[in-house]
């Protein structure tokens, strides 16, 4: 369980990332986080694996106080939390399988780590992860030969190979076309269903979010302004989250009202 208790984050330049955030997330939830750019979606997600530090409050994940984690303890904790990025963040000059295998690096010892020699079990686990996202046939292809959707799946396989408890996804479909975006969201849904992995997704496409996730967290200027089932989302709530600057068709609706 992930528990935010009065969490506040202020960046060194004075920008407020998170403001008195209180949240409880159970194992296996599928959550979409929506809000304007700069509202604090990224900060919220990155606080969980301590890619960003928090200033005040307590952030507890399965009994561990994240704020106190340092060095090797922090790295051990991070091996249990997956992360997916908007720009995939793969090493493009090398093969798909080598990218997936990097999730086993923390467990490698000595010369194996330096030379990048992985055991057969690791290789099979990596191939298995690729199979789970349906791109097993691309295992020995160089990453820069793949399309954006395929690359995001490689990133997903890299995360699955960690066998994480939680997957944090920071705008995972923002760089993809609508069809590929749907496919990647399907992957997330399947992973969430099949392995009971908690999935937190930052997402700009409200419709896509509503179609897939069970729970929506709306964030505005670092504050949580909505937290509830995705079925209960209506135009009024969205207008509040997006500061009355709604995207697409909804904006016109608002104006005519």
């Amino acid at each position: 369980m992930i528990k935010f208790d009065h969490v506040t984050k202020v960046y060194p330049n004075g920008v407020v990332g998170l403001k008195d955030v209180n949240l409880e997330i159970e194992q296996g939830e599928f959550i979409g986080i929506i809000g304007l750019s700069g509202a604090g979606k990224s900060t919220l997600i990155r606080a969980i694996n301590k890619m960003h530090d928090i200033n005040e409050g307590s952030l507890n994940v399965d009994g561990l106080e994240v704020k106190d984690l340092k060095g090797s303890k922090l790295r051990a904790y991070r091996t249990e939390i997956g992360m997916i990025f908007q720009s995939f963040n793969l090493v493009t000059r090398t093969t798909v399988i080598k990218n997936v295998l990097t999730s086993f690096v923390p467990k490698l010892k000595g010369w194996r780590k330096i030379t990048g020699t992985f055991s057969k079990e690791n290789e099979i686990a990596a191939l298995d992860a690729l199979d789970k996202v349906g791109i097993l046939d691309k295992a020995y292809t160089r990453v820069d030969q793949l399309s954006g959707g395929q690359q995001q799946r490689v990133a997903l396989a890299r995360t699955l190979a960690q066998s994480p408890k939680v997957i944090l996804a920071d705008e995972p479909v923002a760089a993809l076309d609508p069809i590929t975006a749907n496919q990647v969201m399907d992957d997330f849904k399947r992973i969430n269903d099949d392995f009971n992995i908690t999935v937190l997704i930052n997402i700009h496409h409200v419709d896509l979010a509503l179609k897939y996730v069970h729970r929506i967290i709306g964030i505005k200027a670092g504050e949580i302004v909505y937290d509830g089932p995705s079925e209960n989302i209506n135009d009024e709530i969205l207008a509040n989250i997006y500061d009355n600057k709604l995207p697409g068709g909804r904006e016109k609706d608002e104006e005519t009202k």
Binding site: M51, Y77, R78, M83, V91, T94, V105, I114, G116
Partner: protein, 261 residues
Amino acid sequence: MVLPNGKTVIKPRSNALLVTAIIIIFSLISVKVTGFSFAVLAKRGHQFWFLVAQMFPINTHYLPNIWEPLFDTIKMSLLGCSIGALLAIPFAMIASNNLVHSKIVISVTRVIFSILRTLPTLVTALIATYIWGLGTLAGTIAIFVFSFSYLGKLLYEEIETVDMGPYEAMQSLGLNWIDCFRYAILPEILPYFISNSLYCFEGNVRYAAILGYVGAGGLGLIINEKISYMEWDKVGMILVMLFFTVAIIESTSHYIRKRIT
């Protein structure tokens, strides 16, 4: 400039004319200061051809005496360059502002690189002969110092332009920063690094050829000797061998560099 619909766009003024004028002025000043004279160049120019003519026909009987210093020269550059390249990696890592956040560590490492780079290889070699004695060891050390500083600087500049996305992903996977470098950054920079190292090796063969002048071993030793004896046919033989060696190394390295980048 005014468009048909009345909108105006201000075109930035080109400063090409000013730059050209400055280049011409500085060229004239440097001719004056260095005492460069076309008259002397033209008058004594034929002496060059006279010397070249004296080198031919080259003395092929001298060839057996060249092999050893030639291989010494190649050995010095290869060994110096390899050690320099390997040692440049950890130092370039701590000189990169995207890997290390301590400004002090970064600037100290960079200052070391700059100081070593400003040392002319010939001077380093001379100093090295006083410490480690005459011979190829001194030459190897001189080449090592140059390669280390040159490749180190190129490497940290390369590291700093790398996309940090994969590095961030590796951090989130729980890798420590050295492993993050090894698995996220090294694959991206390795082709350039090998290419630079080969280029450095190419250049070093030429540098190494003159290090013998200060007693640091290699071809320079016999070039110096034969020039002072005015045995131009032997000098010619040495230069021809050097030419072929450099040409072979350059074309091989050029081929490899083209393949990997």
